[in-house]
Subunit: 168 residues, 2 copies
DNA sequence: ATATATTTTCAATAAGTTTTGAAAATTCAA
DNA sequence: TTGAATTTTCAAAACTTATTGAAAATATAT
């Protein structure tokens, strides 16, 4: 398979993959393009390679920067801005985990602890089922939360090394 | 907070939460409703409690069943079908992991190994960056894959118990 | 200061997804 | 069988989200 073909396939599947993970197709495609580009690219490069409008590139690169996955870089002697993706996949993964934990998991856990305090007689099966379910989800969520914290702080070789030993 | 209010909030936030995870709002809401219902519910119960159409309930319960999160149950003496959700959150989580692994991660890893075999001179920086990136993602993905396999096979108390000890 | 290059914004539009509801199919009791 | 209850299907409508493109804002060189 030729490089250009492989690149196109990678970008398109990464885009489709992203949509299952709450990331929009274009944002994931731009990310994929930058991941396989050895040098930083400009808005125009991205527009051209992915056939999308300037506004679209602008909004999605902005989001990628806010997720901490892409950096704006200045190249000396050039007027235009360039974009470059973090290439270390471990860093990419921990960065995504960190952001999603902050944006989604933490607020959900906070809400669940509120809901657990519902009034009513625990002998009522409706109340009991509600409290049990919400409590169960919260406990599970808290454990996942602690585990993710360790992962975020850890360094790849330590984390995966230990984990693999552990699971052997 | 009254039970009815807490229930409404739980259902609505679980729905919103679901949309970040590639699950549609209504499917997540029906799941939430069934999770906090002590007894199985019919299509009509769900329609009424969530104010949604019969067709919508039908499609989404079908999906929940295909994800292995909800069972159709027959109640003796009743003509209608009833639906009931698995209440053990650990089982819910491993079931979701199992399905998503099968539907998303496994095909992606298969594709990545294909793409790594791209033709061309590794001294070309474009080829090199492509192979390095794709290879890095594949290796990371494979490790995640093994870890998830262990998790799916494990039992909750063993898994979380050992993990907590490990991370202490 | 002025002109030019570049980036950003955002209303309009397009594309994609979910929901409805009524008709068709199925199930089951009598 | 027949017919009432129930479930399923799916085309059309409603809703949601993503994209465009041109105008406005900003930055830079001369």
């Amino acid at each position: 398979m030729k490089l250009s073909e492989a690149k196109t396939q990678f970008i398109s599947s990464w885009g489709a993959f992203g949509t299952h993970w709450g990331i929009n197709r274009t944002m994931a495609q731009i990310h994929a393009l930058l991941l396989v580009s050895p040098d930083p690219l400009t808005q125009d490069d991205i527009m051209e390679q992915l056939n999308i409008s300037r506004g679209n590139v602008n909004m999605n690169t902005r989001d990628l920067v806010s997720w901490g996955l892409v950096d704006r870089v200045l190249i000396q002697g050039e007027r235009k801005e360039f974009f470059s993706a973090e290439k270390d996949i471990w860093k990419v993964a921990t960065q995504i985990i960190k952001e999603r934990k902050k944006r989604e998991l933490d607020p959900m856990l906070k809400l669940l602890s509120q809901l657990e305090k519902v009034d009513g007689d625990k002998k009522d099966k409706h109340v009991k089922q509600f409290v049990d379910t919400v409590g169960g989800i919260r406990k599970f969520g808290n454990q996942a939360d602690s585990m993710l914290d360790v992962m975020i702080k850890a360094d790849e070789s330590w984390f995966l090394g230990s984990l693999l030993k552990f699971f052997k």
